[in-house]
Amino acid sequence: MKRVAAILLLTAACAAGAQPPPERADATAPDPFPSTYRRAPGAPMAITGAHILTGTGAELVNGTILVRDGLVEAVGEDLAVPEGYEVVDASGRWLTPGLIDAHSHLGVSSSPTTPLSADHNEGTSPNTAEVWAEHAVWPQDPQFRLARAGGVTTLMILPGSGNLIGGRSVTLRNVPSPTVQGMKFPGAPYGVKMACGENPKRSYGARGRSPATRMGNVALFRRAWIEAADYARRLDRAGSGGEPPRRDLQLETLAGVLDGEILVQNHCYRADEMAIMIDMGREFGFRIRAFHHATEAYKIAPMLAREDICVATWASSWGSKMEALDSVEENAPMIEAAGGCAIIHSDDATLGQRLNQEAGIALAAGRRAGIDVTDGEAIRWITANPARALGIDDRVGTLEPGRMADLVLWSANPFSVYALAERVWIDGAPVWDRSDPRYQAPSDFLLGQPGQASPR
């Protein structure tokens, strides 16, 4: 059974292969803001002699990777470089998949911060499932380049957490482009941002509105899902010949969640609230793809592993709120140790430039606590695992043949504070090079501004 919301996600279906267009319940455009991103053409390339963390868990001490047509062609320790390949000598350096930031507000919460550029919270109603982050992304946000210099090749841009249901996320390629469509990751599924706890209840309770408590949070969530289920039923009936309901953007997004086409990205700090959200998902028939921030995930690590829910978290941030008080540096390694899907995310434009270091802090803390995690496993926290949370793990996140060639060449072990992303490729095309100004261009906004003659 296909519904409108599913049709809106047609790009995801397209990526899976040439299928006949699904039946439509109404005249909705299937993909109203389609990606116009095209990979830059490039010659076949071989990076040789690198210490490679492939993102599959494997570690090659003296590895070579072959890239052709924007895809990984081969990875191995004894690969011959075919004729006609541009060779990058990476001896003494480390190579990883491009980093994926599973929680970013770049473009919707831009620099410089002004009231006019704060576009991440549509804080006018606790449920704004109808808003889409991509409609607010400012591609000239100078922070995109800074993230690129930190090795970030893909980001999920989320609405803020002031609302229970903040709206749709968008997944972007971190490439310069004058339009957001030029950055949209082709075929990436949408996410919906949901938020537990203090933020929604504080935002609305302070105005004398519901939700003012965590009880109110859950009550309003459930009301929204009841309406969404009803809308989905009416769409189903329309699919079998009935009258389609009047199009409702808010319910369309939620019905897409019930269809499993839109992935739930749930800001939720406390263990008890995560457990409530899991049950609520069960009540209405949807799954939570990832808990974000998830300070207390370590308390229910076995449950989260069992439920197959990723945990996107930090090592160092804590304490700004009551719900963030029980943080431990070992959150990610404890999720890993329980067999779960651990992710280090940023939620911050400064931290987002050094996801690798944040993973390093978690890794070192974990090892100190006796949790044996290898470098090869830990790199998954910022590559393969966020790809999984974003629903793009069949295309990026690992260096396996056929994957998109998003690569970062590091000057040192990437978990070290001294490691610099020397070169970054997206789909095999260079997007950052510390020694080549052609790949360091600042965004339009910074042209003619003070201090731009220097590297940043």
Partner: protein
């Protein structure tokens, strides 16, 4: 001075273990002092103070000895511009004592009062190698934001006992965008308001008796605020000025010159653009090395290169952590400055000796030298890198617990995590 003496007495009373002799041997000692780095050396500690540091020290018989096993030993780090001791949870008003909106208490606000050594943040920061801090007030953001000064910072120790080491190590003032906003919306208003205030304070200092008889003009500030600013206009207490734009920094330097003020610059996003002026004025800069966002129109020139460029220009630079709960990231910030071109030694000094010098504490902390307090940390790797962690921490010679509420939480839940994996493997 008396406060400092009392604090020292209190610290001794709270730390009976300090009254002994202790030797740390086999350390790779980064003294940050004239002795430089000693490849394999000994630190001799008596009554909480360093007695000797060197490669060929003989350890008196009966001395308790700790073998550093070749590991790096550094001075304890100093977190500048922090709320440590003043804040527990930012979103809980009652648990945040960094500022007040009380009208007559602006410059008079004293962060040396109300310090809480039992704060959960203290052990967390300490496990990041931080042994001292400059507890720094922030403005109480009441509607109107009419407070001109945030108040006075205090030097504190993180050894678990009473925190206060020294009051009034700096007077905190925001200029640039935020200062302009407080002065009604423009920089020009704030610069005029400040000059007016300093003139009032000088007048007050000369005519206290007349003031108390009600025979002076109205000064605008409360008596407490006027009194608090006297050491500032007399150049005895530095003015810690948050400022970022190059032109604003020039304005601050001019103000300091004309008014005879001692100034510390904080923030300094574009300080590198006026580095020569700052160096010539012998003004130090406190900055956060990872702050490179063009986050406002006053910091469009922000860059990771700032620390290196300032150091090359001869400016005394100290680093800040990432604020309050995140002070433990101070050492990674220093590491990032190394990645951006500072030397390792310069970066280590920027979180030890340099902040001690800037806040007038270098007689007691900041380096491993005879006569200084024995604040030191032993590391299992590079202290500025993510992969290194402390293995032992001493404050005034006293070993600190290597745990925090966070490690207790970890240890409570770790067994269940391990058990779940082995069960999973059996299935």
């Amino acid at each position: 001075m008396i406060g400092r003496f009392l604090a020292a007495l209190l610290a001794l009373a709270a730390a009976p273990a300090a009254a002994e002799t202790l030797a740390i041997v086999n350390g790779r000692i980064a003294t940050v002092g004239p002795a430089g780095t000693i490849d394999r050396g000994t630190i001799l500690i008596r009554d909480g103070r360093i007695v000797a540091v060197g490669a060929d020290l003989s350890v008196p018989p009966g001395t308790r000895t700790i073998d550093a096993q070749g590991r790096i030993v550094t001075p304890g780090f100093i977190a500048s511009g922090t709320g440590l001791g003043l804040i527990e949870v930012r979103s809980v008003e009652a648990a945040d004592d960094r500022g007040a909106s009380f009208p007559g208490i602006s410059a008079a606000f004293d962060a040396g009062y109300g310090l809480n050594p039992d704060s959960l943040l203290v052990p967390v920061a300490r496990l990041g190698g931080i042994t001292r801090a400059i507890a720094t007030p922030v403005y109480g953001d009441a509607p109107g934001r009419e407070l001109l000064f945030a108040g006075q910072a205090a030097a504190v120790a993180l050894g678990g006992g009473p925190m206060l080491v020294r009051r009034g190590v700096a007077m905190v003032l925001e200029m640039g965008d935020a200062g302009a906003e407080r002065a009604g919306g423009a920089r020009a208003a704030e610069l005029v308001a400040l000059r007016t205030v300093f003139a009032d304070v000088r007048d007050f200092a000369r005519r206290r008796a007349a003031y108390d008889r009600g025979e002076t003009r109205d000064y605008g500030l409360s008596r407490a605020d006027l009194e608090a600013l006297v050491p500032v206009v007399e150049g005895r207490m530095p003015l810690l000025v948050s400022v970022n734009r190059a032109s604003d920094i020039r304005d601050v330097l001019a103000l300091a010159r004309e008014e005879g003020l001692r100034v510390i610059l904080e923030g300094g996003a574009e300080a590198w653009r006026v580095a020569a002026d700052i160096a010539a004025a012998e003004v130090p800069v406190l900055l956060t090395p990872v702050d490179n966002l063009p986050a406002s129109f006053e910091s469009l020139g922000a860059t990771l290169e700032t620390p290196r460029r300032l150091a090359e220009a001869g400016v005394l630079v100290a680093f800040q952590g990432n604020g309050n709960h995140r002070e433990r990231e101070l050492r990674y910030n220093a590491g990032n400055a190394v990645a951006a071109g500072m030397t390792w030694e310069q970066s280590l000094a920027a979180i030890t000796l340099n902040p001690a010098r800037i806040f007038g504490l270098a007689d007691t902390v900041g380096s491993l030298e005879p006569g200084k307090d024995a604040d030191l940390v032993i590391w299992d790797g590079d202290p500025l890198d993510t992969l290194g962690r402390p293995t032992a921490i001493f404050i005034r010679g006293e070993a600190q617990p290597m745990s925090s509420r966070q490690t207790e939480l970890r240890d409570r839940y770790l067994p269940a995590v391990r058990a779940s994996l082995s069960q999973g493997a059996e299935r």
